[in-house]
């Protein structure tokens, strides 16, 4: 951002330059609003770096589109299953609150912890999909789409920026790194993921360009 100094008297030339500068700033702000995302909380101007932010997001993207995360952020109303992200066996449905329906609610099979042995359902006390009115779909999202979705409270589960940062340590998120026998972990360690996540956000939560 350009800095500018105030002048005592504003001669015509200065006003023109001033106006031009303001217009440029306006255009740049407008441009920022388009290419980047709307950030609800104030981010310090210092430290914003679109390149580093986007690079960090591409690492985040790898994790979010890996089976351990994507399987519970499906595009349809049936979770996905396995390292090959097939539709979940028996087709349990999302339901209104994301916790399943009737005799196929998530917690009917998924216990509060993993179980010993192959093919047993993995576990966590709060096993669920995003609710029907806030699906938070990862499957099929491009990096650009996903980044914008994640930062917008209307599509990210009403999360503020701070909450978004904290989400990296959410129990169910962390469960992705403790998936139980026969399932692979995400391509980055949780530590590396968290670092990339925070970097992405703190460096401006920029979205990669849509292709």
């Amino acid at each position: 951002m350009k800095t500018y100094t105030k002048r005592n008297l504003l001669p015509k030339k200065s006003i023109t330059v001033f106006a031009i500068i303001i217009m440029v700033i306006a255009f740049m702000s407008f441009g920022l609003k388009n290419k980047s995302t709307i950030i609800t909380a104030r981010v310090e101007n210092i430290g914003k770096d679109s390149i580093e932010s986007v690079a960090a997001f591409m690492e985040v993207y790898k994790v979010l589109l890996s089976p351990r995360c994507m399987n519970c952020h499906p595009s349809g109303d049936v979770p996905l299953q396995g390292d090959d992200s097939q539709l979940h066996n028996s087709l349990p449905k999302r339901g209104k609150d994301g916790k399943g329906i009737y005799a196929m609610k998530c917690s009917n099979c998924h216990q509060s912890t993993n179980l010993e042995g192959l093919h047993k359902p993995p576990g966590h006390p709060n096993w669920h999909l995003p609710p029907a009115n806030m699906k938070m779909v990862f499957q099929g999202r491009t990096p650009s789409q996903l980044a914008k979705q994640l930062v917008n409270p209307k599509t990210n589960g009403n999360k503020s920026l701070q909450q978004l940062i904290k989400h990296a340590d959410d129990g169910l998120v962390k469960a992705g790194w403790n998936p139980g026998e026969g399932r692979t972990v995400p391509p980055l360690s949780h530590e590396a993921f968290k670092k990339a996540w925070i970097t992405w956000i703190e460096k401006g939560a920029y979205a990669p360009k849509s292709k």
Binding site: Q81, Q86, L87, H88, N89, S90, L91, E116, G117, H119
Partner: protein, 729 residues
């Protein structure tokens, strides 16, 4: 089959239906007991696995006995082949083989009761009539219940050659009756082998090798033995070297690593702590007994993989094979053909996947043995049990529980033998339990099959020659004398096989379950090539087989075969415009003495091929229990769709790659059709069989419908391997 000295029946598990009724049963014959209060108990002689013989066989007796079905109680009979016949459930034979004997038993008992009344009333027996469990003498107005004459009847000699009812006058048979165990099933009463309990019973499980062609090298059970509730870990041989096996003595593994403990969960957990080393077993030998004396069969040692098996089958398909049937001069006909159509079909090993995993209870002492559990053929296990336990057969008692599915797998007795030997070794009553993983990986599968069909057409698109060359691991599926043999001038059927250490066994309609799939798909394609309607094409061939049959031993009745096709054409509204929205596939088949035809109506639903409706026509002669019979056909259709779409096992270096239902996909509620319209051809032919016949043609009907739905023919099962649309779980 009729005797007076036999005592009350066994009671597997909990109390029987007659709980609360008097114990004063008077036995009229091996099947029928009556109380003075006129409650009639009828024994079901044949093992029950969902084919509902528990209801239908007693119905046959009740009919000729002229009992009031409402007052009849039914109990599972003990294993007693002298009194109760062959007692083998398989080959769709239960009703067929018991039809006449049970009618005679019922009629004879009625005769004895009439004689008893005639004597008591001092009237001629010709003047005595019966109705719904009561006897009448019209002239004098005398009457009495069966119960009041039971004692007297029991002492009257059993008459032979008693006249049977006219089948058109049946009151019980040919009427729908409710499942006699329905209430027990829906209220959770102990019924199945896995439910059986015995005082002091231990649980045993076997740690099988991880794959076919492997054997135990060494094991360390020190951690296992420390686990709570564990009694013992040992290796038990099943058969000694050179033991002569019968056809149903099939076993996959001979050295059994057994874990015995107090409860199921304790043994399941303790097993996991075993430290095991396995090694290839190499080539082994089975000694098989036979009519011409014993023979040795080599079992290959190779650790097999599906990819390699498929390649090998392709090689063998090109080699000369065993000729099974030849009519006319097929070679010349093919040479001179204007057009030759050739197609190859494949299908994988299938697991039976009975809902109740394998299990059996055994209590073996020095003097006797009692075995309780789910099995299809107690008679076939007795000789082997006798040999293995070194005990006379009459000291071995087998109680048949209800089976949670059979499908052919429970005709093989290895798990009885295993349970018995384990009980003998630990000197305690033992229930042997297979986990689902044990069950699915044990073997005795439906074989892996292939078949190449060739048809020769002349310049006018007439069918002038037909050739089927089928192979399999370890046996082929070809029934050479079945349709269209007999309808084609020049016909050749050949078969070949590749031995394997993967064990196989009977699976619902053995051979037919693939033969029909391939043949009926091929006929569909032929019809298309000839520009004919698929049903009309088959009817034309059948007409030919009727007017001018080729060859001998044509194993089907033309009229009955054509009959089911014609009726399914009618019932499905085959050409009706309102059915155009469906992709329709048809197939028909004859096996196990009955005829079946299906029209499958398929649509795309949520991006996936879905069978929405099926029209099924069966000719199985007289239908004992119409609603239950319809249930059976519906089940066979659902079973067929599921296996056609998804069923199959693959191997890698001897190890089965599917060991539970998350990997071995089964058809579920959301994939089941909305409607299955079942029709039975009405005739008075003695019952022929229903368990298997509806099953084989389903595969091809589905394949033929798929062709219309997705525009592509599928030649390999499971069909989901050919269509991504079917794959997303």
């Amino acid at each position: 089959m009729i005797s007076f000295t036999w005592l009350s029946a066994f009671r597997p598990g909990d109390k029987t239906i007659d709980n609360g009724l008097t114990e004063q049963w008077i036995e009229i014959n091996g099947y029928i007991k009556i109380t003075p209060e006129n409650i009639i108990k009828i024994l079901n002689p044949n093992p029950e696995f969902g084919q509902n013989v528990m209801t239908s066989l007693p119905m046959i007796i009740a009919e000729e006995l002229d009992a009031d079905w409402q007052k009849v109680v039914v109990e599972m009979g003990p294993h007693d082949s002298v009194k109760l016949g062959p007692q083998f459930a398989g080959g769709s034979n239960s009703v067929r083989m018991y039809w006449k004997p049970l009618r005679e038993a019922g009629a004879a008992a009625r005769q004895m009761l009439m004689e008893a009344a005639a004597q008591a009333w001092t009237v001629p027996i010709e003047e005595v009539t019966t109705k719904d469990g009561k006897l009448y003498h019209e002239k004098t107005g005398k009457s009495g219940t069966y119960g009041s004459f039971a004692s007297k009847a029991a002492s009257i000699p059993v008459p032979k050659g008693v006249k049977l009812k006219d089948v058109k006058n049946f009151n019980v048979v040919r009427n729908s009756k409710k499942n006699v165990e329905g209430l027990k099933i829906v209220s959770g009463k102990p019924l199945f082998g896995l439910d059986y309990k015995h005082e002091g019973m231990l649980i045993a499980m076997i740690e099988h090798p991880p794959g076919f062609g492997m054997k135990l090298k060494s094991f360390d059970a020190s951690e296992t033995l420390k686990m709570p509730g564990i009694k013992d870990v040992f290796v038990q041989k099943l058969y000694e070297e050179g033991f002569e096996q019968g056809g149903f003595d099939t076993r996959t593994f001979n050295d059994l690593l057994v874990v015995v403990g107090n409860t199921t969960w304790q043994v399941m957990t303790a097993r996991k702590k075993l430290k095991l080393a396995w090694e290839p077993a190499g080539e082994t030998k089975n000694t098989m007994s036979g009519r011409d004396g014993k023979r040795e069969v080599i079992v290959p040692g190779e650790l097999e993989s599906t990819d390699a098996q498929l390649k090998k089958m392709q090689e063998y398909a090109k080699k000369p094979a065993q000729q099974l049937r030849k009519d006319g001069d097929p070679e010349t006909a093919f040479k001179n053909a204007a057009q030759v159509i050739e197609r190859t079909y494949n299908a994988p090993f299938l697991a039976h996947n009975c809902m109740e995993p394998m299990n059996f209870f055994a209590h073996v002492t020095d003097e006797k043995a009692m075995l309780v559990g789910p099995l299809q053929a107690p008679g076939w296990t007795k000789p082997t049990l006798s040999k293995l336990l070194n005990m006379p057969a009459d000291k071995i008692e087998i109680q048949m529980t209800r089976m949670g599915g059979g499908f052919g797998l429970r005709a093989y007795g290895h798990y009885l033998f295993e349970a018995a030997l384990i009980s003998k070794k630990v000197k305690a009553p033992v229930k042997l339990v297979y986990t689902r993983e044990d069950d699915m990986t044990y073997g005795i599968y439906r074989p892996m099959y292939t078949a190449t069909y060739r048809a020769a057409l002349d310049a006018n698109k007439n069918l002038i020659a037909f050739h089927v060359k089928g192979g399999g691991i370890p046996e082929h599926a070809i029934h050479a004398n079945r349709f269209p043999a007999g309808a084609v001038d020049n016909y050749l059927a050949e078969g070949w096989q590749i031995p394997s250490n993967i064990t196989i066994g009977a699976f619902r309609a053995p051979g037919s379950n693939f033969n029909a799939a391939a043949e009926q798909s091929f006929l569909d394609e032929l019809a298309e090539a000839m520009g004919k309607d698929p049903i009309d094409f088959r009817l034309e061939l059948l007409q030919r087989a009727k007017e001018n049959p080729i060859g001998k031993n044509n194993d089907y009745n033309v009229d009955r075969y054509a009959g089911v096709l014609k009726l399914v054409k009618e019932k499905s509204g085959w050409n009706k415009p309102e059915n155009k929205k469906y992709s329709r596939g048809v197939a028909a088949y004859f096996c196990h003495n009955s005829y079946a035809a299906h029209v499958v109506d398929m649509i795309m639903k949520d991006g996936q091929p879905y069978v929405e409706r099926v029209f099924s026509v069966i000719d199985c002669g007289i239908v004992i229990n119409p609603d239950a019979a319809a249930n059976m056909v519906e089940g066979a259709v659902v079973d067929g769709i599921g296996n056609a779409f998804y069923g199959g096992l693959t191997h890698k270096d001897g190890v089965v790659e599917q060991n539970n239902f998350n990997r071995y996909r089964m058809i579920r509620m959301y994939e089941a059709p909305k409607k299955i319209d079942v029709h039975f051809v009405q005739n008075d032919i003695d019952p022929t069989g229903l368990g298997e016949p509806p099953f084989p043609p389903v595969f091809a009907a589905v394949a033929n419908a798929l062709y219309k739905t997705v525009g592509k023919r599928v030649y390999a099962q499971p069909f989901m391997s050919q269509l991504t649309a079917l794959r997303g779980f």
